[in-house]
């Protein structure tokens, strides 16, 4: 029993980092463009398909396929921002409508090209780690490590580089940032592309673990937004913790409760946390 709990705990942590990478994109986009970009889930799904196609279709080695897919999704995100989301700045409702439209278009294109048949990538890294009876597939450990590094890198970039500080300053006070000479349009486009790249990377890594279908984006964007809200929108390390909390709640919850209602366990946590901390767990006070 203990092994099962520990195993599900680890599993939850790993799935949770996938939620976290989406949540990070959600929180960054919201901080800079003032909308929740639900299409990040579709970008993640597209990243998974691209990685699978580059790797199994074109024979490009998996790590390179992930990098290429991430860059391609960054470009998709940039184009979507300049063509569509640019006109929805700081307008949540318009952002939501455009997101939903974009999701429909992306899902329809993927269905046309790759059909509804679930796609499974070849085993990239077979084998497992055994730690005292608990089994962790090697690939899951790699996915966790890569995502953790990217989240830490993002945090460091936001606090220690000029571009990151400009983004953080802009999130606090857009006009004051413009008065410091921050090129606000470039910043917004850059953050939109970076958030898309995070989602694309999440999808590329997902592809090595699970089946790819056109619907996977919906679940992940839902959990990503949950994680971002749970953490208190605007907090980088908070999105990480939020993703892991939801992942673990699902993993451990499904041992004791029917796993068919998996998606609800994270939501229960979200409601409980918001009841006691309405601004989110790691919310930073604005004063």
């Amino acid at each position: 029993m203990l092994q099962l709990v520990v195993g599900q705990l680890l599993n939850g942590v790993i799935v949770g980092t996938l939620y976290a990478i989406i949540a990070l994109g959600v929180t960054l986009t919201f901080g800079i463009t003032g909308i929740v970009n639900f299409a990040l889930g579709a970008f993640m799904m597209l990243g998974a398909y691209f990685t699978w196609y580059f790797s199994d279709g074109l024979g490009i080695p998996y790590p390179l396929a992930v990098v290429l897919a991430t860059l391609a999704i960054a470009l998709v995100g940039l184009v979507a921002d300049q063509v569509l989301f640019r006109f929805t700045r700081n307008n949540l409702i318009n952002g939501l409508i455009v997101s939903i439209g974009l999701i429909s278009v992306i899902v329809a294109i993927v269905l046309m090209v790759w059909t509804t048949t679930p796609q499974n990538m070849h085993y990239v890294l077979p084998g497992v780690f055994r730690v005292g009876g608990v089994i962790v597939p090697k690939m899951k450990a790699v996915v966790f490590g890569v995502l953790l590094l990217v989240i830490l890198f993002t945090y460091a970039a936001l606090t220690r580089t000029w571009a990151g500080r400009a983004a953080y300053a802009y999130a606090q006070n857009p006009e004051a940032a413009a008065l410091m000479g921050v090129r606000t349009k470039v910043l917004q486009a850059g953050v939109a592309a970076y958030s898309a790249a995070l989602a694309g990377l999440g999808g590329g890594l997902y592809a090595s673990l699970y089946s790819i279908t056109p619907e996977i984006g919906a679940g992940y964007i839902l959990k990503g937004v949950e994680a971002a809200i749970l953490a208190g929108i605007g907090s980088v390390m908070g999105s990480f913790a939020g993703g892991i909390i939801i992942g673990v709640a699902e993993g451990v919850g499904s041992i004791f409760l029917p796993s068919a209602y998996n998606d609800a366990y994270g939501l229960v946590f979200l409601v409980l946390i918001l009841l006691f901390k309405p601004a989110g767990l790691f919310a930073v006070s604005s004063r």
Partner: protein, 234 residues
Amino acid sequence: MLELDRIDVHYAKNHVLKGVSLNIREGEVVSLVGSNAAGKTTTLRTIMGLKACTAGTIRFAGASLEGQATDQRVAGGIVLVPEGRQVFPRFTVSENLLMGAYHRRDRNRLDDDLDKAYAMFPRLAERRGQKAGSMSGGEQQMLAIARGLLSRPRCLLLDEPTLGLAPRIVDEISLTIRKLAEQGLTVLLAEQNAGMALAVADRAYVLETGRVSLEGTGAELAGNEAVRRNYLDN
């Protein structure tokens, strides 16, 4: 150095600035005096390119600013310390100051500039690690001015720097403006506090519902009957 020539600005259908012309010469302190909603803030925002003018031209150091975005104007040396201070609340004092230097090419070598800022505002030096959002209004105003100076302005625009501050802080701020003027900095000061604004200014303009109604030296305007009646208490 900074010339506004018959500037018109509209907010939707409201005609907020009606042919405003100003001329600020190098090394001068010029005050823009007027009541609430006279158009002072709009004038400064238009100079920065945060608000577009519908007619007229703005020239800085001989060149037209038309088509220049805010960041280009900042890089050119026009710096606005905005109304309501607008410090970055979650940044520390020193992080706020660093943001002032964001556009500078030498932004990675700022030790001297920071020392100078702390020498000018000793209270900021004591609080360099404190979050700006947790400071008093007067301290935030000092920080906003210091941050503006880190942008290395050739012309500094100050919007209502004394709004809502205690008389003692108001004195401190006018002293700061005098010091900056002695160092040769060109300053355009928009103020409701006409007494203070006319006292520090070489020249001043009175703005009334979007029009320049009077101009003259600070002393001339301070002695003007209409100005005394409408803007000064005595």
